[in-house]
């Protein structure tokens, strides 16, 4: 689905990502964990075309996308749920979803309504709030709206940037349940998280990013059991084990 080879990117002279390689297979949940400043968000910005890769390749469904414009990449089937939700605050919940479905708008109005109903079924709270302005929603509801908006594009690959940040534990649990349901529905997910434990529990595989390099990768169970990962990301002291 997604294959990244020796990707390098950064801001100005600052090289944030150093020869990153990773891949995501169809139907998988892959998580990328790492501390603040490791380069997680930069990697997503490079994949979505918000910043230009300075070297390396990004291949989506067999096509190179590293030279495409950000809006074209969305049309190719890769959607990002950005950090901090970034909903259209001054527009209603329904309008946010309609805009999310913009890349599919040629399918017609009936199809659009069908998709919106699907999102409402996935996130019932959005149906209740459909005419409310997005800016008036709670943090958890905005996260759900941001996910719903990205799903409206029917992406082959959906990428989530820190969906749990700043949310109450109960809501975080809910969000992760929905991510699992997305895989059941056939979606492919790339999940970026600081909450490593929760992320590894839902993911099939994981990568650990540190100062712009991938230092570890493997099946989620293996990473959960790995002592270095435990010490650095799961908040468990080595002596306890």
């Amino acid at each position: 689905m997604l294959k990244i080879k020796n990707l390098e990117a950064g801001y100005g002279k600052l090289r944030v990502l150093k020869r990153i390689s990773l891949h995501v297979n169809p139907g998988e949940i892959v998580t990328l964990i790492g501390a603040n400043g490791a380069g997680k968000t930069t990697l997503l910005a490079a994949i979505t075309g918000l910043i230009r890769a300075t070297a390396g390749e990004i291949v989506l469904k067999g096509d190179n996308i590293e030279r495409l414009k950000a809006e074209e990449i969305v049309f190719r089937g890769c959607s990002l749920v950005p950090e901090g939700r970034q909903v259209f605050a001054t527009m209603s919940v329904r309008e946010n979803l309609v805009l999310g479905g913009y890349v599919q708008h040629r399918q017609g109005k009936a199809k659009m309504q069908e998709e919106i109903e699907y999102i409402y079924d996935l996130f019932p709270v959005l149906r209740e709030r459909r005419n409310q302005l997005a800016g008036t929603l709670s943090g958890g509801e905005q996260q759900m709206l941001a996910m719903g908006r990205a799903l409206m594009a029917k992406p082959a690959l959906i990428m989530l940037d820190e969906p749990s940040t700043g949310l109450a534990p109960l809501i975080v649990k809910n969000i992760f349940q929905i991510i699992t349901r997305l895989r059941e529905a056939g979606n492919t997910v790339l999940l970026i998280e600081q909450n490593a434990k929760a992320a590894l529990r839902v993911a099939d595989r994981g990568y650990v990013l540190e100062t712009g390099k991938i230092i570890l990768q493997g099946a989620s169970e293996d990473l959960l059991a790995n002592r270095d990962v435990q010490r650095a990301y799961l908040g468990r002291d080595v002596k306890e084990n």
Binding site: A70, V74, Q86, F88, A89, L99, G100, Y102, A153
Partner: protein
Amino acid sequence: MTLELFSQYLLAGVTYGIIYAIVGIGFNIIYNTTGIINFAQGEFVMLGGMIAISMHQWLPLPLAIVAAVLLVMLIGALVEILFIRWLDRPSVLRMIIITIGISILVREAALHIWGEGVRSLPYFVGNEITTVRIMGARVSPQVLWVIGVCTVMVLALSLFFKYTLQGKKMQACAANRVAATLCGISTKNMVTLSFMLSAGIGALAGCVMSPITYSQYDIGTGLAIKGFTVAILGGLGSSMAAVAAGLLLGLIESFSVSVVPLAFQDAISISLLLAILFLRPHGLFGNKDAADLKEF
């Protein structure tokens, strides 16, 4: 003040007010999608009137107006494509200087093409001395044309933003540019579209007002100042607030004539602009918190 005089001032105020509102809305449309103030906005109004007058030599009036509006929209798009589109994240100051430069360029070009002469389109109905009586006041039917056309434009624009996908895409750019890009919306095309749209409404306003206010190569600057005052007065970014602010400014100007000499009319709107910038920079109807988040 007699009722006749009151109605006379009232209608004059509404007429000018709605023209200011249209210029103010033009500012807002571009501000919303780009975050910049396009100081060439008044030039679009001037071009609308001037081109329609030239076209009217060959075409019947309605066609001349349609052609002028389309041509000015094209000019708006060209201005954006030539001067703004290729800039990579320009600073607000740079954009302001560019738009002021464009306005000078357009004005000088107009001076060369049409000269200094004062021109005007013919009255749409009747002539200079035709009047209709409204609430005791005697006004030219052209006043009704101005009020009618501008009102229809305001309504059409709000319907456009509320119900069409293009309108929603433009709104999305205003609300959150990065998120709009992530929805697959080309923000650059939306910026071009916003220039075309505000050029178009400016040009149409320029045509309907031409018979009563006349067209000349340098009317753009004055209109831009009034329109800017209105946009700031209402709170940048909100079109309905610009209409309210436009009517307010128009009425203040027209009623002020009964108290102070006519020559002070422009001074009044500029003092109002200064007062607003000092006291309520987020506008009469704007939200302070929202204004604090804006870069300009």
